[in-house]
Amino acid sequence: MNVTTEELASLYVLDKLDPAQLRAFEARLQVDTDLLQLVRGLESALEDQIRALPQREPPGASFERIKSQIRPREPVPLKDKVVSIPWISLMGWGMAAILLLGLGLTFILTSERHPPASGSNPVVLVVGMDAQSNQWKTIPLASATDASESFAQLAVLAEELWKNPGHLPGYSNEPNPANTRSSGYTVFNPASKHGFIAIQQLPRPVAGKHYYLWVKDPFSNRLECAGLIPLQDADHGLYSFALSQDSEITSDRVVFFITEESSDDPTWTRPRGRPVLGTDHI
C-alpha cells in the first residue's frame, strides 16, 4: 500500500473523509481485499483505544428509555433473508438477488438499497459505449411495486441486451473508429440509481492497474466513481453497480466511461488514467 492509500485508510477509520472521498473509498473496499485487511487492522486499534478509555456504566434506566423510543418491527424469520454474499447487504433484496444469481450474472460493486423508481413515467437509460462514444436510448419502465422488483426489471433488461445486442443504441458489429472491438453498454435507472454495465472484448488492464467506472452528468459536470470493475480472467462481463443514495447526480441523461487507473493513485474522485471505453462528453 502506498502512503496515499494509508492516509485515506487512516482518515476513513477516523471518520474524517469528505462525502465524495468516503463514497469512493467504500466502493473500493468492496473489491480490494488488501485494503480491507489494512482497514480492519486500523479499526482494531481504534476499538482498543475506545475500550481503554476510563469505563463507566450508563445509568441503570438508560435501556428502558431507549426501548421506549424504538419502534418495534414485525419480526422476520432469518431463513427468509438472503445474507450469503458477505460484501453485499442483500437483506430486503431477497427475490432480486435470487433472480440475479439464477441468471448467472456477476453481482459486484456497491449495492446499497434505494427506493423504487418514482414518478409517473419511469425510464431506464440504455447507453451503448465504444472506445470513443456514448449512444443513448431510453426505455419506458413498468412501475415497480418496490425496490426489489425495480432492480429485477433492470437485471432482466441487462441480460436481454446481452443476448440481443442488436437492440443496443449505436450497435455495430464492425470495428469502431478507434479500430478496437471493445464495446459495452449500461442500463441505468436514474430514479433508483442502480445500473448494470456490460463489457465485451476489453483487454485486461496491465499489471498494477484497474478499470474504474465513472458516471458523469454532462450538463452539470458532476462526476462520480461507480466502482472498480474486477475483470479477472475474462475480457467480458456483466456487473451491477449503484451510486450512493446521497449521490449528487440526479440527471436522467448521464454518460459512462471506463478508465484504467493506477493502483498507486486510488483517490477515486477524479479519473487520471487512460480512458478505455465510453466518453465523458456528449
Binding site: 474524517k16 487492522g41 482494531s44 483505544q49 476510563p54 463507566r56 450508563p58 432469518l78 433473508k81
Partner: protein, 192 residues
C-alpha cells in the same frame, strides 16, 4: 483483546445486528450490554457531561435500531460502526450547543472526576488490555498522539485540528496516518 478474539466477537456482533434488523429486541438488548459501557465512556470523554453523554447514548442506540438493516460488514466492523454513530451524535451535540471541543489530553481525562474507579475494572484481562493500549499510546510521538486524540475525541475536522495545532493540513494528515499505523502495529505486537 487479542486479534482472534476480536474477530470472533465482531462476527457475533454482526449476527446480532442482522437479528436487530429483523426486529429482534433480545438481540438489541444483547448488543446494548456489549456496547453501552464503552460507548457511554466515549460520550463522557467527548461531551464531559454525564447527562448529555447518556442522551447521546440513547440517541445512538435508537439509531442502531433504525439503521441495523443498512449495516454493511464490508465497510466496517460492528463496533467501529457503532463508535462512528456515537461520535457523530456527540459531535452534533457539541455543534448544536456551540460548545468548544474537548481539548484535554487522555491523561487529563483519566485523572478527571468522572474517570472510572479502579474497582469497576473488574478483571485482570481488562487491566491488561488497558495497559497494553496505554503502552502503545506512550510509544507514539507526542505530536502524533495529540493529533490522534483530537481526531478521535474532539469533534474537530482535520482542517480544524490543523488550525488548533498550528500545523499545515498535510502535516496533520501525516501525523494521523503515522499515529494510527504505529498504534496498530504496537497493539498487534503486544497481542502476540
Amino acid at each position: 483483546m487479542p486479534p482472534t478474539a476480536q474477530r470472533e466477537s465482531a462476527a457475533e456482533e454482526a449476527v446480532l445486528l442482522s437479528r436487530i434488523a429483523t426486529g429482534d429486541q433480545a438481540a438489541f438488548e444483547q448488543l446494548y450490554r456489549k456496547y453501552s459501557r464503552p460507548l457511554f465512556s466515549l460520550g463522557l470523554r467527548m461531551l464531559e457531561n454525564e447527562k448529555e453523554a447518556e442522551e447521546a447514548l440513547q440517541d445512538t442506540f435508537v439509531k442502531l435500531w433504525n439503521k441495523a438493516e443498512s449495516y454493511d460488514a464490508r465497510k466496517s466492523r460492528p463496533f467501529t460502526w457503532s463508535v462512528t454513530i456515537m461520535r457523530r451524535t456527540c459531535i452534533d451535540r457539541l455543534r448544536k450547543n456551540n460548545r468548544r471541543p474537548v481539548s484535554t489530553t487522555l491523561e487529563d481525562a483519566r485523572a478527571s472526576q468522572w474517570a472510572i474507579p479502579e474497582t469497576v475494572r473488574k478483571t485482570t484481562e481488562l487491566n491488561d488490555d488497558v495497559d497494553r493500549v496505554n503502552a502503545a499510546m506512550q510509544a507514539i510521538p507526542p505530536h502524533q498522539k495529540r493529533a490522534l486524540e483530537l481526531a478521535l475525541f474532539s469533534g474537530l475536522t482535520h482542517t480544524e485540528i490543523a488550525e488548533n495545532l498550528k500545523q499545515p493540513l498535510g502535516t496533520v494528515k501525516t501525523w494521523l496516518r503515522r499515529g494510527m499505523f504505529q498504534l496498530s502495529s504496537s497493539l498487534t505486537e503486544h497481542a502476540k
